[in-house]
Amino acid sequence: MKPAPFSFVRPQGLQHALEALAADPGAKVLAGGQSLVPLLSMRLAAPSTLVDINALPDLDHVRVDDSGVRVGALARQADVLGSDDVRRVQPLLSLALSQVAHATIRNRGTVVGSLVHADAAAELPMVLTLLGGSVSVASATGTRTIPAAELYAGPLESTLHHDEIAVEALFPGLGPGEGVAFEEVSRRHGDYALCGVAAVVRVEGAHVAEARVGYMSVADVPTVVDLTTALVEEVAQRPSRRARNQGELSDQAVSAAAELALQHLDPADDLHASSAYRAQLVRVLTAHALRAAHDDAVVRGGAPG
């Protein structure tokens, strides 16, 4: 469990880092190392050069502005989780981060590193996709912004080019009328989830205007499904205005939503769970998350009346 030989550079400036990366097609970026170092130790990855970005200046920011939460490439997961501003502007990011690994790993692991590592079992890529966020990347030749919807190409595969460094991620803030929820089931506390579900529900008055749900560990890439139709129809069909205003989603509605979601997902068998069990978790967690996000929206918007 010792890495194969590699060269190591720790540039002091972004340009220098980008050049080092471009100079060696076998080079890899090292951020918090919480995913990369185990891969090196098990010799599952053997890059010829490690470009350690930890000494780069001005990349550890966690900023909130009108567009949402901006997280620099060197901001640790713990920094973002600890920020009250983040919790206020986009509570889903905080909810998800509290489920990422353990405190010691979050002290070192970066948010951006997790995003570009592109694990379909990871919380943050799914949340970025659900929120419609983006990642800004730089290379020796320029910069570009990759929308989350275009970031994930396959299992552990992002659309970053080899010579690009992700410098910042943008998680859009909570919109008016929106409520959020995050639910996951893992074998042990802090493990990658067997299935994880995040929901954003937007209400307009007493109506569900939009319901989008993100899934992890039940498809090859983080997957978002729009479940609005399943809920809107259902609420509209409620017999009385009183029931429509009750603020609770019915059992039929949420299970119809879960079945709709399953059509877009591909839960697989592995050591820890059968595909049937994962499908069951999709049903259960979709229901919980939709209800919780709906309640959250109602509470944030003031009780509908």
Partner: protein, 806 residues
Amino acid sequence: MSTRLFGESVQRVEDQRFLRGEGRYVDDVLVGTTGRDMLHAAVLRSPHAHARIVDIDVSGVLDLDGVHLVWTHDDLDGPMAEPLPLLIPHPSLTHGRTQYALAKDEVNYVGEAIAFVVADDRYVAEDAVGRIRVQYEFLPPVVGIAAARAAEHLVHDDVPGNVGARLEQENGDARAAIAAAPHTLSLDLTVERSASTPLEGRGTVARWDPDIGRLTVWTSTQTSTGVRAALAAKLGLDLGRVDVVTPDVGGGFGVKINHPWPEELLVPAAARLLGRVVKFTEDRREHFISSAHERGQVHHVEVGFDDEGRVLGLNVEFWHDHGAYTPYGLITPIVTSTQLLGPYKPGAYRVVFESLYTNTVMVTPYRGAGRPQGCFVMERTMDAIAAALGKDRTEVRAVNFIQPDEFPYDQGLIFQDGRELEYDSGDYPASLQRLKDLVGWDDFPKLREEMAREGRTVGIGLACYVEGTGVGPYEGAHVHIETSGKVKVATGLTTQGQGHATVFAQVVADVLGVPFEDVDVVTGDTRRMPYAVGTFASRSAVMSGSAVHLAALRAREKVLRIAADALEASEEDLEIVDGVVSVKGAPGSGASIDLRTVAVLSNPLRYAFDEASQAATQFSVGDPGKPPVAEDDEPGLEGRDFYSPQRSTYASGMHAVIVETDPETAEIKILKYAVVHDCGRLINPMIVEGQIQGGVAQGVGGALYERMAYDESGQLLNASFMDFLMPYVTEVPERIDIDHLETPSPLNPLGVKGAGEAGVIPSAAVFASAIEDAEGPSHPGLVITAMPISPSELFHLRQVHTEESR
């Protein structure tokens, strides 16, 4: 006498060191100045479960910078080229097989050692291993008990049917008793593979000192004397030239009692050849695929019982997966076959097992050593009888208990130590009553109702066990009172964190009347105590505890003899309090002498080295008419003694758990865990409770999380802590309610029984019982026959059950 320490929850003297990160493990040995010339070893391990080795090409290795040595089997000679020892032969082990230090011609599991490399550091050593080219001819792998029994393919060509051993024992005529019984049941029960997984893996450091022709080996083992004997034999060295030292050990749980591991021989051999210190530190993946596993067994039970649930006849057949080799003999299945009986006395009992070869990592005892499987089988049977008769599960157990007035109770079988399975003492009805009170057994139906009203599902389960502890053959101890008055104690068995330095000091301080702080204990160093067996089978307190006690008594006798002489008093009138010998009843007032002075007087000197020792020189002491040291005496204030019992002591216990199962996600949550435990007299209740808590934690792992997931080609799919789910602190109950019963053992001077493994024994049984109980209302008749169980598997059971009951 000073306040008695026996029975007190004395703080562990080890913990300051461990908690401050000052533990010294094998990997820490000789690091620093003396370690600058240390070399590091790595091992090429088979990537295939079953293959013939056609060719090994090491030509790409030696020209790698920093490589000092590469060995394959061809490079070994003499005893080193022979198979490793079969440590515990047994007449029924008709086809015992052990591996070579480096594979010869054939590999039989993924992880088997093929080549050994020594280099400047472990990085280079691993690079070198990566350059060795092996040509294999693939053979069909045999994985799992079903494949081993089917025997379409053989693991070893010369072992027909893959059967290493078949052993049958019977007390009475079980089959006739079952045939005549009013009720009968049959059950098929499975327990999967798991492993000890200590946080510190194996490790060995060796230094050859050419000036004095002496080998010193530090190794992370549960038996330093065993390793020493094996090393001397394999390396062709006189025993007197080999010292084995066991520093702090980061957990063993059984896996480190097996020895010698290939690296335990190869590292010292390389150190001797190269004249450099050589180190091997096993990594986690290596530990998973090349150290031992345990637990995998399949059982078939036939039982006949009466209307009260009394077992009239019990007939158990089981199949034990011992992996590719049998270095540790039949200990695990013998333990299952005998300890299965627990606290019960069936009318007649027959047990037969086959121990089977598979192309997987070999199996040697893991904490509990076959008892968790036996307990699972017996307790599942008890639950099944209760269900069949519609009786409370505790009632069925109670009618089968051996009663307190029936001890010693002979179960009519032969135990793992070759001695009769005769229980020394116990009080099972009292334990059960305490357990029921502790967990709230009788009030549980109310709790279940309340929870049901909230839409929550809960269940309760219990499991009972008896554990043969403190097996022989012997342990010894040496107690030395130095002229500083401090007491140095050495026992040969090793320590893996159990707190031996604390409890043995308690025992010695009591006997010698010295302050606890003045007693210093060394374990597992063959230079200090060359006669010892090892730390396994919950034997340290019983065996070394008793030996330490006896050795301290010997030292005390001598103290009193010398003091009586000096004080001109009679020995019977003397007592030792706080390190001072004086006439009883008059401490401080009359004549007294402290242990320092007694120690000085015990060793007549020619040369004084300080003021105190002047008192022992030739013009100061001694009767000129007698030799300075009497004919039957020795200089020095020492005591050495050994303890060797006729048979094991039998500890017992009962666990109960209340679990909640999620109706939707099938997640299993522990709401309450209760333990009643009887290990005879408690030397240190806090340490016993620590052992129980650790055992329960490990048991939770075994019941709900951990398993070895082999695929059909013999690859271990979860060889990391990411996929082998050892529970975190968050998965283990925050609180465990513990109650102790103390039925002393009549077999040793301290009245103690072992406590090290107890916590882990009933886990699979107790969780199966509770989960099944929780599922009862929603899925009546759902039975749990295989452990461990995951939420995904419980969900599957529910689905199958629902389909079947349609």
